[in-house]
Subunit: 342 residues, 2 copies
Amino acid sequence: MSTPLVIGLSAVIVAVTDETPRVLVVRRPGAAGELALPSGPLDPDRDRTLELALRNWVRTQTGLELGYVEQLYTFGDRVRGRSGEEEARELSIAYLALVREGGAPEATGAGWLDVYDLFPWEDWRQGRPPEIDRVLAPLLARWADGAGGEAAAARRERIDIVFGLGGTPGDGERVLDRYELLYEARAVGESVRDRGGRSRPAPGTGQVLALDHRRILAVALGRLRGKLRYRPVVFELLPPLFTLSQLQRAVEALAGLRLHQQNFRRLIEQAGLVEGTGRRETRTGGRPAELFRFRREVLRERPAPGVGLPGRREAPPGGEREGAGERAGSRGMRARNREPAG
Amino acid sequence: MSTPLVIGLSAVIVAVTDETPRVLVVRRPGAAGELALPSGPLDPDRDRTLELALRNWVRTQTGLELGYVEQLYTFGDRVRGRSGEEEARELSIAYLALVREGGAPEATGAGWLDVYDLFPWEDWRQGRPPEIDRVLAPLLARWADGAGGEAAAARRERIDIVFGLGGTPGDGERVLDRYELLYEARAVGESVRDRGGRSRPAPGTGQVLALDHRRILAVALGRLRGKLRYRPVVFELLPPLFTLSQLQRAVEALAGLRLHQQNFRRLIEQAGLVEGTGRRETRTGGRPAELFRFRREVLRERPAPGVGLPGRREAPPGGEREGAGERAGSRGMRARNREPAG
DNA sequence: TCAAAAGTGTTATCCTTACACCCATGT
DNA sequence: ACATGGGTGTAAGGATAACACTTTTGA
């Protein structure tokens, strides 16, 4: 007798309202009402394509009509832990969708969550997130030390690389690597839960989601951050007309970084990504801003139009490498196009 | 009664021998002995993870033990055409694997194919591939004209963008976009076959594979080309010790471009990607070359270590845009780090 | 001695970064 | 008037691209 195999489709639906990136979640009927991504099984008879199936599910569960959709990853490892339950194995195909606003999915019980409530260590807009040094780094260090000599060194190297500690420049796109590391180190609630534990996760380790949904979200955020660089995806999240500040804040919200304003504007304009409409937005405080729109022609002009984030190049400015003991002081992430972060 | 759903795992196994990128294919038992990627169904009871399942299948079908493996994409649309057959629907999860050499999979009936026999239009190392202007561009133009006025213009724009015609700079990574376009335009054998047609594909449109395997390969090549830029994946394809020329030729083989030698060497070295061993390779013809090895420490030093290919930036050098009629003369792809192509 | 490939040095150009400053509105 | 955010100019630094040239082997 073979294990029944169900194909699930999950959606990471992202919007940016004001300055916060949000993700749509539903409350699961069963269990303790855990939060979960909208998802449902594939019906091979009805759904002609996977993407259509996904759109259907999202419509019925949240009332939302999706626009931009992209496949993320297929997760198929046997569900961790859950020992004894012996539930049907699920293969889940995850998608990323971008929508323009917090619409009105409230009626259906779905709601928006701040992405950085799930990943507090990913938001560097106010400078280095305090959770890293206060909670995560110590937990990770203990975990690394817990292994034998060889393995401990390997773990430490991995921590340095993915979190950008110890003089290693960080990479904003390695969201999944960071989450997986925290999972392995049992620093996030899911790894405790999946082992049948009952202890509460430490504060600062972020909101727990059902199943492996936070992992899926980590893949989504990493992918989205990467894509910002070379595809004009931000515009999927903005209204047709927007000011350059709105654009910048949306990018910053996703990248989790504060960017240098003057250069941002110039880069965007000289990249040909936007064009001014004569109209201006009379704003709160300060000079009215011009309204811009996305310039579609850029697709013909450039092979990979994107917004240009810092990172990706050389080693950090301060010379070779910091002393092994001196971790807390390091900013980790590169500071090229970054604002001083106040 | 519901359609049976089978989960298939497919592997795009890539190696680079001398100067040609190769992919491993097997001859399918049924049908007319079509060539196909190694693949097999997932056994939910035996295989704990998808990746392990894949490794098992590859081992039994080709005798190969895989090293680097990465998930590519999950294809699940109802199999095109095949009208009447009403076969079980298959969901196939595709993986990319990199191996070091053409091993000895001959015994098992598997064999290596030159990737550019499948995508002749992707190899720009000898300059612009003649197939583009001789075969593909005319076919595509006819296809575009076949649509109504509005749609025809849209099709033409799409052609320009993905093939880099008409002054639009090309992007070596859009391998899938180009293949899909050719499929839609019925320029490749698969689209004829999937519609039940029997006519032979035009010469220059590349070797046909079973099912959607060439599409999968297109995804793989595009992904690999992209990854070259920011992850040290080439080294998975090279022996532990190699000369800089070997490295360059491997990169060129995958990127389908010829690179400027002097700058390539400098970039690689100053990126800290390799380190010299004192040893030298006494070669055929010319001065002996030093043997290098991959410098693992680069992972700690840089957020995204890769080889730096041309492209990705601005519009082509020759000013605004070429006249609409003047297509054949355009090089299309950018020529920044490119050799004059002789 | 010559061909072929390896390897080095130098310069021009262009993108990115940083800094300084002016503009337009609401209170 | 001044605070606030919008918007522009310009110069320094750094990375790439292009070019010229030297070194070391085998035939």
